[in-house]
């Protein structure tokens, strides 16, 4: 295991200490931080390792949220519902990935964007099952007190983040991660030397969707009410990209740092400029792309960084 990956696990372990200091508000922020970190790490498998610009995060977030919500309404316990959401997203994304990841560049971006629209419209129209535009109420899980509820969902989301990080580290160290790197650098050449790129990409897409789906399920149980325009919001697809660009594309530690920094900025903007928060987010995106295209890692005197953690983040 490389030193950056150890640093990543240490960072995640530090986050777990939050309930020692924080009140319910801090726990809410912590839960969001873990959710965003899951998004960023998951997106990084397809967008960072394999170099495919995926905008499908929101599709699987919403799918997971609705799967969990519907199962819980039928009386299935939360843990089983989450597992169901995870497996469904894994299988469906792998199947879709095998088809959609044949497309490259702009066409893949458009197809993955459309996936969000298709899922949202399907959920919108299946009123009997999902409640359509009226949204879906989800039964309370514990409901004893505000703080214990907040602590429960914080640790649940944190546990999911830890699982995601371990899987991402395992992927990056394995043959799969190596193959995805080859695909990013030159897909035709990696096909030529006998790499089954369709299989690799499908597995990568599945892995990048399943934890997002489970996070969506936890989110649904956490907020107790979901509707299609909330959970299939295209912003959920774009935020992980901004986080990854902010932290440094391709490096798991970088994208998690990017997720935390992004959440901090978002919270400050939300609290102070509620009416123009999406405009401020737009300005932030543009400044980031124009002036800091390789993320915070590049800003941070890269030599010091290398001295501390051994290896520089991969640029795409």
């Amino acid at each position: 295991m490389t030193r950056t990956n150890i640093a990543l696990l240490v960072l995640i372990a530090c986050v777990a200490a939050l309930p020692l200091f924080g009140d319910a508000y801090a726990m809410r922020l912590g839960t969001m931080a873990c959710m965003y970190a899951i998004f960023a790490l998951s997106w990084n498998i397809v967008g960072g390792f394999a170099g495919y610009p995926s905008f499908a995060t929101a599709a699987f977030f919403g799918l997971g949220a609705y799967t969990t919500g519907i199962l819980m309404n039928k009386g299935v316990p939360l843990s089983v519902s989450l597992l169901g959401a995870l497996v469904l997203c894994l299988v469906l994304a792998a199947a879709l990935g095998a088809v959609l990841l044949r497309l490259r560049g702009h066409y893949f971006a458009i197809a993955s964007l459309s996936l969000v629209e298709v899922f949202r419209e399907l959920v919108n129209n299946a009123t009997d099952l999902t409640g359509g535009g009226m949204g879906l109420n989800i039964p309370l899980v514990s409901g004893s007190s505000v703080l214990s509820d907040a602590t429960f969902f914080f640790y649940a989301m944190w546990g999911l983040l830890l699982l995601t990080a371990l899987v991402v580290i395992a992927v990056s160290a394995s043959k799969l991660g190596f193959g995805l790197n080859c695909i990013r650098q030159n897909e035709t050449a990696s096909n030529m030397v006998g790499l089954n790129s369709t299989l690799y990409k499908a597995v990568a897409f599945g892995l990048s969707a399943c934890f997002v789906g489970a996070a969506g399920g936890l989110y649904a149980a956490w907020v107790h009410y979901i509707d299609p325009s909330d959970v299939f919001d295209i912003l959920y697809s774009v935020k992980p990209i901004v986080m990854a660009l902010m932290g440094g594309l391709g490096s798991p530690l970088g994208v998690v740092c990017g997720a935390f920094v992004y959440l901090g900025l978002e919270e400050v903007v939300w609290r102070n400029y509620i009416q123009i928060h999406s405009g401020v987010l737009g300005v932030l995106i543009i400044l980031l792309l124009l002036f800091l295209p390789h993320g915070l890692i590049s800003l941070h005197a890269s030599k010091i960084w290398r001295g501390l953690f051994g290896r520089k983040a991969k640029h795409v």
């Binding site: 610009p53 497309l103 702009h106 971006a109 964007l113 629209e117 129209n125 737009g282």
Partner: protein
Amino acid sequence: MLAIQVLINALVLGCLYACIAIGFSLVWGVLNVINLIHGSFIVLGAYLAWGAYNALGLSPWYSLLIAAPSFFVFGYLLQRLLLNRVITAPVLVTLTLTFGLDLILNNAMIYYFKADYRKLILNPPTGSVSIFDVVVPVDRLIATASALALTFLLYLLLRRSKVGRAIVAVRLDRDAAVLMGVNVKSIYAVAFGLGAALAGCAGVLMALIFPISPLTSSAYLGKAFVVCVLGGLGSVSGALAGGLLLALVEGVGSVYLGPAHAVTLSFVLLIIFLVVRPQGLLGRKGFE
């Protein structure tokens, strides 16, 4: 009779869809940028027509004359000052940049115009014509005719004018165009400006028919995606074919599956086309 009505509706709507999509298709084809701000440009154009009609009493035809040059300048400057800096970057960067721009413009519109739905109501109303049992509202007919005229104007511009030929040349082969003395930077900006102007004009026409709200921008953008992929990228005739096909599919789908499923159907069709026939119905390289 129902079949004829559906066909006529598709014809009318298809031309409007083509008009929504040609600007998007031009920018995608020439600059290789997926311009996510396109939908918001259309809505801004609709607000321009609405404001000019309600505040100044200007008819939408004059709004077209205002929209075209002002949106052109806006788009030209946007490309020159911002987009040009990342034009060679991978799709992830250009797409995210236009998404950021879209967030800003859309937020500004919600801030100033509020998210309420508004409608440009012509006074006196234009009514509708009916031949046998087929009914067509006159405002839709006028909007469709104008949309066709705009599309034809772009075709003429690309075909006959010097700058149009230069745009086509850059689209066909950027490097060869540079060698022939075409100033690619300026052509990029002109193409983006044209795309914005077409979006603004399309918005003015949409204001005649559809309700206006900043929240509708993503629906317009979605239509532009689907039309471009169905018809094939980078040709005026492709956009027209794509628009007509989309309108026909939506119309027939609405009749047989219910109108709620029309959007789902169009995006499923988009994904199928991307996988099976990514070059679209009339796809080939080059703008006429």
